[in-house]
């Protein structure tokens, strides 16, 4: 999805792009780097500054460090920028200067229905299948082996990772008089907002009648199952291995840790955080943290929770 850009950029340029102030010498930065492996001419970030990191910084020349505060540091051999959000600014400069979108055209092995409506700058990877009732918004990237069928509307600037399946038939059966399970035809739509991320091997099930809605800026990790007719609010994050059963409503800004299971038809209000491995069988109230099996209220959600996540 990304390719690296080979650039030589002054530390002061990075400061100016991020609207930060450079302390220390100006020098050329060539690569993004990490604290674990400090290399010269790199830009790195740290949320905190330990004596060990400070010692390493002084031993390696031409490091540009993005820090939360100056910690009374003397910029000797390295330079720094003070930012309220070091990692965020690191990501911003990475995106702006050191990487770029891989602009290869849609792969010739992709099977895209001629009736599908595909926006500008959409890239569709190898062996992906796009059905006739699919709409994909501008600048969305669909990686390899993705299957999108049924009535699916995807917004702008989304990413659908490898092997994801959207709109495949749902797991709905009605037992007849003889006890034979008869498949229920699923005819609903899946509506996905702008800037949504859907991870590898994740499945968004086709809706039975009522639409499945995944609002703008929702980020879904790999190996996640979203059942039919769910509604997921803006900016909600769902980590790997989570299973969301049918007709679940999840509010805005919720955070589901890995391997959470949500029982069908429950509602999570806004700003709910669910801990790792929790099995949620009841509704969850706003601004709370839930954990355990079955999940119980742990405490109110704090700003610290956001940072630790």
């Amino acid at each position: 999805m990304y390719k690296t850009r080979k650039v030589e950029i002054y530390a002061s340029e990075i400061a100016e792009i991020l609207n930060l102030t450079l302390t220390g010498e100006d020098f050329i930065v060539k690569y993004p780097g990490s604290l674990e492996n400090l290399q010269p001419h790199t830009v790195v970030y740290s949320e905190t500054l330990t004596p060990e990191i400070a010692r390493q910084l002084k031993q390696t020349r031409n490091i540009l460090m993005i820090l939360r505060e100056s910690y009374g540091l003397k910029a000797e051999g390295f330079s720094y920028l003070v930012s309220p959000r070091p990692r965020l600014d690191f990501v911003r400069i990475l995106n702006e200067s050191f990487v770029e979108r891989d602009t290869r055209q849609s792969d010739p092995t992709a099977r895209i229905s001629t009736d599908a409506k595909i926006g500008r700058n959409v890239v569709i990877g190898a062996h992906s299948v796009i059905g006739p009732d699919v709409v994909i918004g501008d600048n969305t990237i669909v990686l390899n082996n993705v299957v999108i069928t049924g009535k699916v509307v995807i917004g702008r600037n989304c990413v659908i990772k490898d092997n994801a399946t959207l709109g495949s038939e749902g797991y709905g059966f009605e037992f007849d008089e003889a006890g034979e399970p008869i498949h229920v035809p699923y005819v609903g739509s899946i509506l996905i907002g702008d800037h949504v991320w859907i991870g590898a091997n994740s499945a968004i099930e086709r809706a039975e009648i009522d639409d499945t809605v995944i609002a703008a800026s929702v980020k879904i990790d790999d190996l996640v199952q979203i059942g039919q007719s769910c509604q997921i609010g803006e900016h909600t994050m769902i980590a790997a291995g989570t299973v969301v059963s049918a007709r679940v409503k999840i509010g805005n800004h919720c955070w589901l840790a890995p391997n959470v299971s949500l029982k069908d038809r429950i509602t999570l209000a806004d700003d709910v955080l669910v801990g790792i491995g929790a099995v949620v069988i009841h509704d969850c109230e706003s601004h709370n943290v839930y954990a355990g099996n079955p999940a119980r209220l742990l405490r109110r959600r704090t700003q610290e929770d956001l940072k630790s996540v």
Partner: protein, 364 residues
Amino acid sequence: MSETKERIFTERVSPFLKQKMADLLARYGAADERYRALSLQYLKSPLEEAAAPESNLRHYEAEVVHQESALPKGIERLYRRTLVIEITISCVANCRYCLRQKYDLHTFTEDEILRVAKYCGSQGVREDLNEVLITGGDAFLVPQKLNLLVEALMRYAPNVTTMRVATRIPQQSPERVTDAILDVFRNKPGIRFEVATQTNHAVEFFQEVRECFKRLKEVVPTIYSQNVLLKGVNDTPEALLELYDTMRILGIEAHYLFHAIPLQGMHHFRTTVDKGLSLTKMITSSGIFSGRAKPMYAAMTDIGKIIFYEGTIKERDTKNNRLLLQSCYMLKNRREWNPSWQLPGSAQTDKQGYLQVWYLDGSQ
């Protein structure tokens, strides 16, 4: 009130230009015209600090102040159809004669970009506005933000159908013109893009630069260059002829040839206005050069650019070495397009309501 401090305009030369200057110096020596054409443009000179009549800190004031839209700094409007958007004030190399060298350093945030785009499409603005000049600094420095701005304008301001993007990165760091930048211009139906650049001497068109412009022209067919008349760099007929010839070969259109602005620290770069007029006549009307590459000779004054035609110079104040220039701008129009615009002290209106402005001349 935040305290304002004077911005120190540091010497910044991109690694590419540093290498080229070192090569030219080693090959031809410090007195060579080609080396001087680059070193004068980019290396800090003690002459910048010398006492001189040029005292302006900005070229003009045209900041758009709009409380409702909470616009960030960096939006300027002098003309009916066009808005100037300074997406970043940063550059990969600092030209010593930069007209925005005293501007506060700022790069638009994502939120500011969206606000600007929405302002461009708002009622009362969209009726006249159909063009933006996205500049800086260097708009190519922040390709992701540039793309976000273009996309946001397409979404929120469909009235904007022409977008000009200003850059010197092709001349200063051609290796940076990668897909991240080319993608900004690809696949944007309904938008006419133009790239505005600035080249002051033919030596700047190194092979890497030529290849870079070739890549760029594949996605933006229209590239034009405005050039600044700089003493010691290009103030000879030969230098200008070579410059415009090379531009023509590369398919870069000639736009304005600017008389160097009366900005603080610029005195040593400034020829007289008359010298520029004489050079322009020579390169456009002497028959020794094709008229296909004619620049428009202009001055960047306190009320905006004024192109020199017959009758433009209304009066000469020899005692103060200044010229009264006649414009076709009207005060009432200015205030209509940008209600926050103030008439500068150097300007006045004539009987018909057109603006005239006093302009400090350079020296021989």
